[in-house]
Symmetry: D2
Subunit: 331 residues, 4 copies
């Protein structure tokens, strides 16, 4: 059993706490949170103990740290945990500042430092099968990809200023999926954005709707659609087009129940949001972290993946602001 | 161009008239109906002339007769047309009386007498593909079949007494599908019936809902579900189970439009009734009749097919009344 | 935390062990099995201890017993557990002998005896939503139901003689679903059976394929289709037809991935078997057992439900053997 | 009966000929083609006569002209027909040269000149229902649209140089759909293009794959995906996202047959190409032309619609070549 410290007892922290508690080879040892009450409460529910960050870091029996605290602390806490010899599972994003991420890259490039980034979609069974089918040549040579990624409803307005903006906060997942599925880096991005849902988001200098085009050196093209509000649950679909056809992964639904009446055929809307849609992905992420702690495999999502996705995000922001396609330097 | 006489200018007659008029190798010469007005009106719309039955029969330039008159005249008019040397396309059923059908069988067994029975479902593209896939071994050895055949709404109550009852009127199509798909005769039927929709149907000694089980000598089993009212359009589905899987044909819809909202995913209900669902089948039936007139093929639905379906119907009625499975003698 | 004893460390026992181990309000205290090795091995994997049945029964700190041993011991072990004051969760069937089940009914009719029967399908989210929608009037008045329940592949031949036969072993689940969904008892059954898959099953006096029709006093009709081999995974579908439409629950799939190519559109086959399809149902069953132990609710599946389903099964066997519909006395 | 002249006896001309011949209020009087053989042959098949363009234009009994000749003659022949007082149904595009189209606009702006442009997709029942639902507020306020429009396979290489290029030849339909569905003009286009399928297309200065983003003054965004080769038939889908949900129209299939086996669930691929997918649309187009000849309605697709779509196409070409978003002046 590997002893695990969880830093951050919020919504996503609670998910990880539950999955660690249920995992047969992991033990949730301690929980850290800026709010001692939050830490105590989650600790009580999961059989862990609440403690300070310093205590958690100093505890050498703790072999893995899950960093699920507020975004601005991800990098600092990851560095502390890594320096104390713990394997790190860090929620995305590493940081909102590209320069800061770049500056610490060398630390996490060290082969002895286990660092797993929480791009949860890579662990979704649908997208995993999509990718494995692609790698088996299901569509021949990959040509283009369409990613639809619409949230059910906008976050609280107070979240907008600290989100880093739509491209760093939301599209970053899609940039990662695009890189993961094509297996090729992007050299150019063009981003259109608009505030169509809530004009107060515009007041914060942000947008709520975006359409983005990416291009690789070999001419492959990826289209990403983002919206902060779908009106029908969480819309998470990917289509890949290639020389021999198309492969796609669709939304998930709570049940298969279908009702036929004079009003037509009616079925469930997509699962409401990420906690529901990616429940299995979060479990698999923790299972992968356990494997990393076992030293049976390397982290499948690296620090560099986080850096590269943020790099595209920075270029997308410039493209949107300058109304022009922007080159991405992956050097 | 083959000259065609249409006998019967009602709803199904009008469908056939339109399809004959549009067919490049057929010419709708004349239309006969007990109501001269009905004949005149349909003739005017299709460029044909109205005439009496005697005139139509006597006209030797007329090579084919479509019998779409009232059920009780199907057999008599078919015999008249056949005796005058015309190819006959007769709407189902041949007659509601098994003995009468049996008595005239020898006339239509004659290889020189072209007789096509209007079991329209055999011409539906979905069921045609289903059968051709079965014959190509899509499910290995056929074991069992489920047929769902529900009307959108009951017919006018006045139709019930002259319908011959649910089994002769409605299930007859399903009995034919069952024979056509299994390619084997049935030796036993068990029929459950009930009046669940409109109790006035029971007053006429009929039922509006039925579940029927058929069995072949080799042990294959077919289930048929009938209802006079679906509440969501015309429900016409067939599932075939075999040693290597399942193949099924589903309903058809007016459009592919799908609406996603807080209320779920909504799409069209099935096409309303047989005129819509089997529009293509009616066209193909007429095209097949043209091929018969060209002598390029034999009728694919024979007088004997009509007799055999009725034979099962008679046994089903006995089964329902006697509450017991009934043997079917195909001798 | 309620201490739980598990009796039976086989395939289904292991499922329950895992679900108890993961449940926050249950503790898997001990595991009993005729094979001490099996008990030891499962105990090691779940943090429980292996012990004898006598020890488990005698341990008053154990408040609940899960009976997942071989079918012929279900009733005896349930009685022992109940008499020692434990809440009982017994796998289906209670027993293969209707008389034995009847003889012990009074013991479990006692309001103080908590007895939950493992009709797992009642806990499937699809069927639960189906039923709750029916109760909300989704299809108006329920008229008829079609249940398709096909296994992926036949069990080992050695299982057949001790299975109780297809109707007691397999259809029993469908009889329970039929009762649960209609909310009305059945007064008649007609069962057709055949050995179409493996003739050696016939040598054991059993069948591998069946079509069953049930009828209630009010005329409602239920059709059940069973096959020991689908050729495409576990086929578990229910359709309900009523005065205002149709509602149906379909199969579940591992992923939503769809592949389009010259060969058509291809998607996953249904989940392979009950362990996969009903994984969530098994979890919910254990959660319900925890609620029963909390005394926060009554068992939703009773001893009488097991008796009634077996009663229909007995009548179905007679119907199949006597080739005649058989009355069911629910007195 | 309105007498119709058909100019152009090629593939699309033959479709129109058949639909005119079958229409109850139209009569196909004469057929003109640069190849007299082609004209004769189609005339023989449809009961029309072959004649010269001059004869057709001079024939005052001919009230409508269908221009389905080669693209470079569309405008000239349309002008000739219009000046002789005939109603004109002109295949798309009006011309590949924007300036020429602009120069003749005044002629067709005249209210007495009936001119219908053959943007067939506007007559597809799926897209018609999509639009009518949008107009009924199905998704609230329209925000963004995704159009997928992929051909099954590239045209003969010889067609490429005279096609006008992908944007004028293929995307022009999608530009029209975008205008028709949003009901708002576009002010900017950004087009990415690549030659991913056949490098010989690049040798002609053209591309075979494109992703295009459009923007309206109010911030609405439309994404269009084009490919000259899908590998699975004709892919024609539209999704519309709005303030209250999503509405989409999908592909059409030859049958509803679904096959389940160890290899998964398999169904038809989309209909092969435009002749199959838009068969109903072509019929409805002709029916609309008949209504125009009856003076019962105005043309629903105008000369200006053809001009506006071409205008976007020109901007798209510039965007692709200059690798920059391009403003569209709708003045």
């Amino acid at each position: 059993m590997h002893q695990i410290a969880l830093v951050g007892a919020g919504r996503i922290g609670a998910i990880h706490a539950g999955n660690v508690a249920r995992h047969p080879r992991l033990k949730l040892a301690c929980i850290v949170d800026a709010s001692e009450d939050a830490a105590q409460s989650l600790a009580a529910a999961t059989g862990a103990k609440a403690c300070s960050l310093a205590e958690a870091i100093a505890d050498n029996s703790v072999k893995g740290a899950i960093i699920a605290s507020s975004t601005d602390t991800h990098l600092e806490f990851s560095i502390m945990a890594a320096k104390s010899g713990k394997a790190v599972f860090c929620e995305k994003p590493i940081d909102l500042c590209l320069e800061k991420v770049s500056n610490s890259a060398s630390l996490f490039a060290d082969a002895d430092t286990a660092f797993l980034l929480g791009f949860n979609r890579r662990f979704d069974p649908n997208f995993m099968k999509l990718r494995s089918q692609l790698q088996n040549g299901a569509v021949g040579k990959i040509e283009t990809i369409h990613i639809t990624s619409h949230d059910p409803a906008p976050p609280p307005l107070s979240y907008i200023p600290k989100s880093g903006g739509l491209f760093r906060d939301m599209t970053i997942h899609d940039f990662d999926m695009a890189r993961w599925l094509t297996g090729e880096e992007f050299i150019e991005v063009f981003a259109q954005g608009a505030c169509l849902i809530d004009k107060r988001i515009e007041d914060h200098g942000d947008i709520d709707t975006a359409k983005i085009l990416l291009k690789t050196a070999s001419g492959r093209m990826v289209f990403i659609s983002n919206s902060r509000r779908s009106g029908y649950g969480y819309d998470q679909r990917i289509e890949v087009f290639g020389s021999e056809g198309r492969i796609a992964a669709g939304n998930m639904y709570e049940t298969t129940v279908e009702h036929w009446s004079q009003g037509g055929r009616n079925a469930d809307k997509p699962l409401e949001f990420f906690l529901e849609r990616y429940a299995t992905a979060y479990e698999s992420e923790i299972a992968h972290f356990a494997d990393i702690l076992d030293r049976s495999c390397k982290p499948s999502v690296t620090y560099d993946d986080g850096y590269k996705a943020l790099l595209i995000g920075e270029a997308a922001i410039r493209s949107w602001k300058e109304k022009s396609p922007i080159s991405i330097s992956n050097a």
